[in-house]
């Protein structure tokens, strides 16, 4: 087991390097765009002024350095907690990210919790009451939840309450530390929309694996021993149905981050997703590289934790 963990951790390192080198490389192969943007903006604002010195700009941004020198600069900075400075505002990327991170984490946790609150009981009920009306209703809603784009649902939730009742979410962002109630007013709706989408997939998966486990011999044995329904379901069925569900849940961390980008855009929440999009539109490369690195670091750790949780859930993996 120990060797297995060490091997897994060691394999994460090349993956991380590969990603950051690739993002760096693509930026290097498609240079100029941020400089073009700056030149366009500056010359557009002050007509008559000479076009800026492109070489000087490139030097300021460090785009003139050899590839591996600037990569090494960035990597050593990233590992020591300094992710560079914005091309446009000269703000520290680390400060900005740390400021936005709690917002997205809060949104993500809320969405995640809501998804579990919906998916686990509904998935179990749909399985143990298979082919009942409730089961059909749940399955249909789950399929729609998968097919319905979150950005459409979010748009409708923004538009229709406003048309019908003149309701609108608070305009200014309120941190959770300032006012819990108002903060929840802002976060709960996007979190429910994200959670609904995530729950759809999870319900389908949980239902089918539960049905599979319910027909196993050891479950029949548990029933015939005269155990209570709750004991059978929780101790014998749910625990065995949980492994594929853990895979789905860990895959949904990506859905959470992707969903946060879209929800923050619709509901005007200043989180990581908005920061990332702003960086993309202004070609602010230090943000783009560092945030990609950050997202993938999170993702890699989650992949690792998922693998380890299999071992925890299924002793057969642990002993082999």
């Amino acid at each position: 087991m120990q060797n297995y963990i060490i091997r897994r951790v060691l394999l994460l390192i090349p993956t991380f390097l590969l990603l950051t080198i690739m993002v760096f490389l693509i930026i290097r192969l498609m240079p100029g765009s941020v400089i073009d943007l700056m030149v366009i903006q500056r010359s557009g604002q002050q007509v008559g002024q000479d076009v800026m010195d492109v070489d000087a700009l490139r030097k300021i941004m460090g785009l003139d350095k050899p590839f591996f020198v600037s990569y090494w600069d960035w990597l050593s900075g990233y590992l020591t907690g300094d992710m560079g400075k914005s091309y446009w505002t000269y703000r520290s990327v680390t400060t900005d990210v740390l400021e936005r991170l709690p917002v997205t984490v809060e949104l993500g946790i809320l969405a995640f919790v809501i998804a579990q609150i919906i998916a686990i009981p509904v998935g179990i009920l749909a399985a143990i009451r298979q082919d009942s009306i409730g089961d059909y209703v749940v399955r249909s809603i789950a399929i729609i939840g998968v097919a319905m784009p979150a950005f459409w649902l979010g748009t409708m939730v923004m538009v229709f309450p406003s048309i019908w009742w003149g309701w609108a979410p608070p305009e200014r962002f309120i941190p959770i530390t300032e006012n819990f109630g108002l903060n929840m007013q802002q976060f709960l709706i996007p979190a429910i929309i994200m959670g609904f989408g995530m729950a759809g997939l999870e319900i389908r998966m949980l239902r089918t694996t539960m049905l599979d486990v319910l027909r196993q011999d050891y479950v029949r044995t548990a029933w015939s021993k005269g155990l209570r329904e709750r004991t059978v379901l929780i101790r014998h069925v749910f625990r065995n149905a949980a492994i594929p569900v853990v895979t789905i849940i860990s895959g949904q961390i990506g859905v959470v981050i992707g969903g946060a980008v879209i929800m923050e855009q619709i509901f005007n929440i200043p989180g990581m997703g908005r920061l990332f999009l702003e960086a993309i539109f202004s070609r602010d490369y230090p943000y783009i590289v560092s945030m990609n690195a950050l997202f993938s670091t999170v993702g890699l750790v989650i992949i690792l934790l998922t693998d380890l949780s299999y071992a925890w859930l299924d002793p057969r993996i642990r002993y082999s």
Partner: protein, 314 residues
């Protein structure tokens, strides 16, 4: 001699395979058939947009701006007076062309990398698997935003980025199939009689992974259509005035939705119906061609079959 004996029974079988597939689709998978019909309608809309659409998708007609749905404008008009029904028909083009193109590329990339990874193995496999880990570790939407944001958001750029990213994610499915085929005796004998690498790949491995390739293609379409719509929604899709369903719901359109509810409803509704249909189609193709790929659902299917058999015999 062996060639003739192999070929004769194979040729008529190949012919019925296709018909068989559709027969089973219609008979066993009503939702999958519905999905196929939705896909066909979309295909007709995309290819024949010039003939079907009642108005011009780009030209503005300001006197008709923000007109509610009526006989003249089935889905109303937008802030520039453009007929929304027309724009949705033309929008099918982006969704379909990018959706199908990216899915095709998914198959090519997944097959290529899966073959290398599974058949050659060794260090090359280790290297390819790092790419898979990479694509798994970072949310697809973030990769797509990053690459499209840097490379540019034209038709081929989006198709390329989505095709490669999705293809890498599918690599493991092809890889494990290739590994299991590799251990077959007939492959060993093919190698023993001096079959070249290409002969082995095209004669022996390809026919075996063909169903998986079809599955990857069918199952990917829905996700690719959704991803393209998401990019367009965020303002990273094929730039306006080209109509796309995601773009119609984006910030630009949202400003007018408070006055014109039909702008908020129809593009999303069409997108949802299409994604639903294509999803059902993909699931049906997978179930018919290779039920094992269903994961949990597959084993459940087997369990049910076992139970039904048991009930019949008892």
């Amino acid at each position: 001699m062996t060639e003739t004996t192999v070929k004769t029974p194979a040729t008529p079988k190949k012919h019925s395979l296709f018909a068989d597939f559709f027969k089973r689709l219609v008979k066993e998978k009503p939702l999958g058939t519905l999905g196929a019909l939705i896909l066909i309608v979309m295909l007709i809309a995309a290819v024949g947009a010039n003939f079907i659409a009642p108005y011009d998708p780009v030209e503005s007609a300001l006197k008709d701006r923000l007109a509610p749905p009526s006989i003249q404008h089935l889905m109303g008009t937008d802030n520039l007076g453009r007929d929304q029904f027309t724009r949705i028909i033309y929008g099918a083009r982006i969704s379909l062309y990018i959706g199908l193109g990216a899915s095709l590329l998914n198959v090519v990339v997944a097959t290529l990398l899966g073959l290398i990874s599974g058949y050659v193995g060794g260090l090359l496999d280790l290297f390819v698997q790092r790419f898979v880990d990479l694509a798994l570790s970072i949310p697809s939407l973030i990769i797509l935003i990053t690459l499209v944001g840097i490379i540019g958001s034209g038709w081929w750029q989006i198709t390329l980025v989505m095709g490669i990213n999705g293809g890498i994610l599918w690599t493991r499915v092809v890889r494990s199939a290739v590994i299991s085929i590799k251990s077959n005796v007939y492959l060993e004998s093919a190698r023993a009689i001096g079959g070249t690498l290409w002969q082995i790949i095209f004669r022996h491995i390809f026919p075996n992974i063909m169903p998986i390739m079809v599955i990857i293609f069918s199952v990917s379409i829905a996700g690719n259509i959704m991803a393209e719509a998401g990019l367009s929604f965020l303002g990273l899709g094929v730039p306006p005035p080209t109509p796309s369903w995601g773009g119609m719901l984006s910030a630009e359109g949202r400003r007018w939705m408070y006055e014109a509810w039909w702008l908020a409803i129809f593009p999303g509704l069409v997108l949802t119906i299409v994604v639903y249909g294509v999803n059902m189609w993909g699931d049906a193709v997978r179930d018919i061609l290779d039920p094992r790929l269903r994961g949990g659902i597959g084993r459940y299917g087997a369990a049910v079959k076992r139970q039904q058999l048991g009930e019949k015999t008892s």
